[in-house]
């Protein structure tokens, strides 16, 4: 299969180093403390954050920091074939854990002891890169909820097909079976909080691919910052003095 034509175009018309179109909206769930929809091309993810609030299960309460919980799910209509998937399958559990750990790394949990933060993310449309989109959506939702964070977490994936590093794989490219590197970074602190790959890749190529993914993360960070700052300004001027 030819994923990059000799003309340097991918199947969907992007060049190898290009990301899909980004689109984000904040405040989509009225009842939640913070919420956001994040789109990367046809991948669309909604995230809602509740909290910090009283810990529901007292025995889990932490006296020195907040408890972060995360639930990931995929809407039945999110993929081409409408499948009824059991809740809490292995994949969901794993991604829930990944998102939780990634977000926990950036939330200043020690500022909110004895409380709990719930993050719910649901994939509305799946077209590759759902993991990254979930993390980006969760970041936006957390920022919207006014939860103090060290930095944003932004995530982006990159792959390696036809001997070319490709940024932001879509479903077709993802299912090609090549390596898929998902990276999450804290752009301001310049630190990596998430790095996943379930394939083998020689080190030098891996470094290229990862560097590409990091570049992608930074571009996403710029976009997220823009969205948030626009949102903050709007809230502020609407409120008035």
């Amino acid at each position: 299969m030819e994923y990059v034509s000799p003309e340097g175009l991918r199947i969907d018309g992007r060049r190898p180093m290009e990301m899909r179109k980004l689109q984000a909206e904040i405040g989509v769930v009225a009842k939640a403390d913070g919420s956001a929809v994040f789109e990367m091309g046809n991948t669309k993810v909604i995230a809602a954050v509740y909290g910090p609030r009283e810990v529901q299960n007292r025995s889990q309460q932490l006296s020195d920091q907040a408890l972060v919980r995360c639930e990931y799910s995929m809407a039945n209509f999110s993929t081409g074939d409408r499948m009824r998937k059991p809740k809490g399958d292995r994949r969901s559990t794993e991604i829930s854990l990944v998102i939780r750990q990634t977000m926990e790394a950036c939330i200043l949990t020690q500022l909110m002891p004895r409380s709990q933060i719930d993050i719910y993310v649901q994939v509305l449309q799946a077209d590759g890169g759902t993991r990254s989109a979930c993390i980006n959506a969760a970041t936006l939702a957390l920022a919207d909820a006014g939860i103090p964070m060290r930095d944003f977490v932004t995530s982006c994936s990159a792959g390696y097909l036809n001997s070319t590093p490709l940024l932001d794989l879509n479903y077709v490219e993802d299912s090609a079976g090549g390596p898929d590197v998902t990276v999450g970074i804290l752009p301001k602190l310049d630190k990596v909080t998430l790095l996943q790959m379930d394939a083998k890749l020689p080190l030098d190529i891996f470094e290229n691919v990862m560097q590409l993914a990091v570049e992608g993360c930074k571009a996403i960070a710029d976009y997220i910052r823009e969205v948030l700052s626009e949102n903050t300004k709007q809230l502020e001027y609407r409120r008035g003095l």
């Binding site: 000799p6 175009l9 018309g13 060049r15 290009e18 081409g80 879509n170 090549g178 890749l201």
Partner: protein
């Protein structure tokens, strides 16, 4: 950069799933015309001037006229991405060719990604078929080019689709058919390259009239694809690849998974226009017809007959009719007929025109029949304007179509190779037929070579990964005149009574680096090809014969496997290292043998040789104990006149102890390396396996053996080896004959990627080794290059190249190596056959032969001295059915009705060999009973 106009596309695949795909339209796709002022012209290919137009091709033009496009006369071509996509879906072969054209920097072919350009993308319209949409896209792109370039260049849409042409003209786009365009170029030779479209009814009439069949329906209409698909689902039809019997073109096999057996297809009618290699849908015939056309005769139609050829080396190239003889007793095998062709395997074929009188009025268009060299291919009807020129030539022809009204497929002339019968021409035919690239290496490839003259540098010496072994007494043993010496040996006695034995292999990977043009070329060629009179190298000559070759008395880089062995040849330790060696002698097998045999010599080299030989004998014995088969082949050797390159003498290849000694250590090195690389890279090692032959495959051997009262045990390779050892008759040649017969029952060993199979399948049957690979000939086999890289990576010397991470690609490399390897063998055989013919042309000979197979009208004999095999007819070909002879199946004998004479399998007969020429330009070797 990112033009954000995404849209959704729905496609259905089997079950209903909705696929939504993004499609980005861009504004940074350039037109590729050098004179364009708007676009970035860094990648521009098209010159474009007012005089010569820029051609925009329609899909049908690319699909049908690829031969024409490959001609350098056609240039300044825009290939639209939509066209490429359609071509790819329709015919992958043509796609690869057009892609090669586009990437060839000498040609002005430019790929314009119209599907992703914001101005040339067209949305599907309701009720519009996919074809119409694509045609519209092509017109829109042509229109865009026209307006984009303005008056600077002339744009011409080339289409053979009338509707498309009409619409284009309506829209104001200049459009032409390819015929009209070629005519306007005023080049007669190009016209022959043109494919006649079947739809051009005016021409068709004319063509039909010329043929004797007069529009008679000869073949059954193919079923429509929808019917085939549903038929396949219901199990009425069976899908499979059609393979035509190499020795009887009227018989073909379709391996069907749904039946689990092969379906036999008899006759051209049942084959229904299918070619060898086509994927076809087959319908089974009613059971009572299953045996109808089965015949034991050698051939049953007009001028088709079995020729003399080399003895097959394995089951892969043996004729497949063998088990038919037996089928009379067993249940009949299913036979069927082709109802549809799912995928064509048409490509170009080598051959010559059937002799015919020159038509009146020379210079006009003549219709001729083309006969392929490959017997599996039917005759092909072509049109030509240069008939007189072509009659005595070997030419290449491509198939275009096969109408059910016509007996033969129609095609067109591609190019001329040379005079028929000329050795160079025929050699080239051999190369083309076997898809062997004999072109000189390109300048990019040669640029990868180290500067000459090359010698071991101080850096190489200082390199810590490289061990200095120049002090060792290393020597090589090869066939006489061998220039690409890729292996050398040493054997040193240690103080503790053990021996240190080293196998040193040319360090090709030191010069051939991954993903360089040199490496790509070598990977593509896969192997060197040895023809009788020439060698086609896998690597350029400086590498093959000098830099890598472990010649005597020069320092060379090597990759060494060094064992410490006890005098009983028990391996105590194995180590692998890159090294520098200096060979002290490049011996031939004969020389090495002579040294060992000459008891007067006691120099260190000879002692080492003798020690090695002793060790090798023990190792060989142990290997045979394990069940390794000693198989025999009827290899022949030519003596070639150095001036004329004509064969002077011909004889069986003699195997000496020295050969076996070298072979033994090479086997050991290969096994040792296989173990090492598999341990480090269990999923991406390249190994070689030899599948265990099934009982059915060995059936002919058993039957032949039984008829001469021999009982073979085939339960294990060990049992088979033992019973082969026991098979000694009064005839000294008997044992070898049986071994040759056994060899040809087995399939060939193949390369594979270790991740693709499970461990038990890695087994090498012939060598009785659980693991095997090729390590010892990197100069002439690419597999060894790969293995070298794996080994050096496993030693931590170099990183593993990226290719090894890509399993599908590794598998495809292994497949290519198998294909190339097989082709190289076929080419060698064909070359030997060719030279045999040349040899006997002047020397009719009487000789001794063995009967290997019984047929209804004769038998097939094997001539040990020349390693050839061919039919001997007892009855004249005219009198069919052979009234006075009958075949005794049980005893494998053919007897005269009156019982006076009988011939049995393995019987010795005397024959006369002579080259006859039944048709002009068609010499063939004929065998007659004396």
């Amino acid at each position: 950069m990112l033009h954000n106009k995404s849209f959704v596309k729905k496609t259905k695949s089997g079950k209903i799933t909705k696929n939504v795909r993004e499609h980005y339209l861009r504004d940074d796709i350039y037109c590729g015309v050098t004179i364009c002022k708007v676009c970035d012209s860094s990648a521009a290919r098209l010159s474009g001037s007012a005089s010569s137009p820029i051609l925009v091709l329609d899909t049908n033009v690319v699909l049908n006229q690829i031969d024409l496009l490959e001609n350098p006369a056609i240039d300044d071509v825009v290939v639209l991405s939509i066209v490429l996509q359609e071509v790819r879906n329709r015919n992958l072969g043509v796609y690869n060719r057009i892609r090669a054209l586009c990437s060839n920097s000498a040609r002005k072919f430019f790929v314009f990604s119209n599907e992703h350009h914001k101005d040339t993308f067209v949305q599907d319209m309701a009720g519009e078929s996919k074809n119409d949409r694509n045609d519209r896209a092509i017109r829109v792109a042509a229109q865009w080019y026209k307006s984009h370039l303005g008056g600077a260049a002339h744009v011409l849409l080339i289409t053979n689709d009338r509707e498309n042409k009409r619409k284009a003209t309506e829209e104001g786009i200049p459009a032409e058919t390819i015929e009209a365009y070629v005519k306007s170029l005023d080049r007669r030779d190009l016209l022959d390259l043109l494919v006649r479209p079947a739809s051009e009814d005016v021409n068709m009439e004319e063509v039909e009239d010329l043929r004797p069949s007069k529009r008679k329906v000869i073949y059954a209409e193919h079923k429509p694809l929808s019917e085939i698909t549903s038929g396949l689902h219901q199990g009425i039809y069976h899908q499979g690849k059609l393979r035509v019997n190499r020795y009887n073109p009227f018989e073909a096999y379709v391996g069907s998974e749904s039946i689990g057996d092969e379906i036999i297809i008899y006759g051209r009618g049942n084959m229904n226009r299918a070619f060898d290699g086509d994927i076809v849908a087959v319908e089974l015939l009613p059971q009572d017809q299953w045996h109808e056309e089965n015949s034991l005769s050698l051939a049953d139609e007009e001028d088709e007959e079995e020729g003399v050829h080399l003895v097959p080396g394995s089951a892969d190239d043996a004729p497949r009719t063998t088990n038919l003889v037996q089928s009379a007793a067993g249940p009949p095998r299913p036979s069927g007929q082709v109802v549809g062709i799912i995928k064509r395997n048409w490509h170009s074929y080598c051959g010559s025109l059937e002799p015919m009188p020159m038509p009146a009025g020379d210079g006009g268009v003549a219709h001729a029949l083309f006969v392929s060299k490959d017997r599996r291919i039917p005759k092909i009807r072509i049109q030509t304007r240069q008939l007189g020129n072509l009659l005595s030539k070997r030419i290449v022809v491509t198939v275009d179509s096969w109408d059910c009204l016509s007996r033969y497929p129609s095609g067109h002339y591609v190019r001329t190779i040379g005079e028929i019968g000329d050795r160079d021409t025929e050699s080239e035919v051999v190369l083309i037929e076997n898809d062997i690239d004999a072109r000189p290496f390109s300048s990019q490839v040669l640029a990868c070579l180290p500067p000459l003259p090359w010698s071991v540098s101080s850096e190489d010496l200082a390199n810590p990964i490289r061990q200095d072994l120049r002090h060792l007494l290393v020597f090589s043993v090869d066939p006489p005149g061998c220039k690409d010496i890729d292996d050398a040996l040493h054997c040193a006695a240690l103080s503790n009574g053990n021996f240190e034995v080293g196998v040193h292999i040319a360090d090709v990977t030191n010069f051939v680096h991954p993903s360089t043009p040199l490496d790509d070329e070598a990977a593509q060629r896969g192997t060197s090809v040895y023809l009788v009179e020439r060698r086609i190298d896998m690597l350029p000559k400086p590498l093959t014969e000098d830099i890598c070759s472990l010649r005597a008395d020069v320092e060379r880089l090597a990759f060494s496997v060094i064992w410490e062995m006890t005098p009983e040849a028990e391996i105590i330790s194995t180590r692998y290292t890159k090294s520098i060696i200096k060979s002290c002698a490049a011996l031939s097998y004969i020389e090495a043998q002579a040294r060992m045999d000459d008891s007067r010599l006691a120099d260190p080299l000879t002692t080492d040789l003798r020690n090695m030989n002793t060790l090798a004998k023990i190792m060989r014995h142990r290997r045979i104990e394990r069940g390794a088969l000693t198989l025999a082949s009827a290899e022949v050797k030519f003596q070639i006149d150095t001036e004329t390159h004509d064969p002077l003498d011909i004889g069986m290849y003699q195997i000496r102890e020295a050969n076996q000694m070298v072979e033994e250590f090479m086997l050991a090195a290969n096994v040792a390396v296989a173990e090492k690389i598999l341990k480090h890279y269990p999923l991406c090692s390249l190994l070689r396996r030899h599948p265990t032959p099934t009982k059915e495959m060995l059936e002919p051997l058993l039957r032949t053996a039984a008829s001469v009262g021999l009982d073979l045990d085939i339960s294990t390779s060990k049992a088979l080896a033992d019973s082969l050892d026991r098979a000694v008759g009064e005839d000294p040649y008997f044992n070898k004959l049986i071994r040759i017969l056994a060899t040809r029952c087995m399939t060939q060993a193949v390369y594979f990627c270790s991740g693709d199979l499970t461990l038990p399948e890695y087994h090498h049957y012939g060598l009785a080794a659980p693991l095997y690979t090729h390590f010892t000939s990197p100069i002439r086999r690419y597999a060894d290059v790969i293995v070298h890289r794996l080994l050096s990576a496993s030693l931590g010397i170099y990183k593993l190249p990226a290719i090894f991470q890509d399993r599908p690609q590794l598998t495809s490399i292994a497949d290519n190596l198998n294909y190339r390897h097989r082709n190289a063998q076929m080419a060698s055989r064909a070359s030997v056959e060719l030279h045999t013919l040349i040899y006997f042309r002047k020397r009719p000979t009487d000789t001794e032969a063995r009967i290997v197979k019984i047929r209804s009208n004769g038998f097939i004999v094997f001539v040990p001295k020349f390693g050839i095999e061919g039919p001997v007819y007892l009855t004249e070909r005219s009198e069919k059915g052979g009234g006075e002879w009958f075949v005794d199946e049980q005893q494998q004998k053919i007897k005269r009705m009156d019982g006076s004479i009988s011939y049995g399998v393995l019987q010795k007969v005397n024959i006369h060999m002579e080259v006859v020429e039944p048709q002009p330009n068609r010499p063939k070797l004929q065998l007659n009973l004396v």
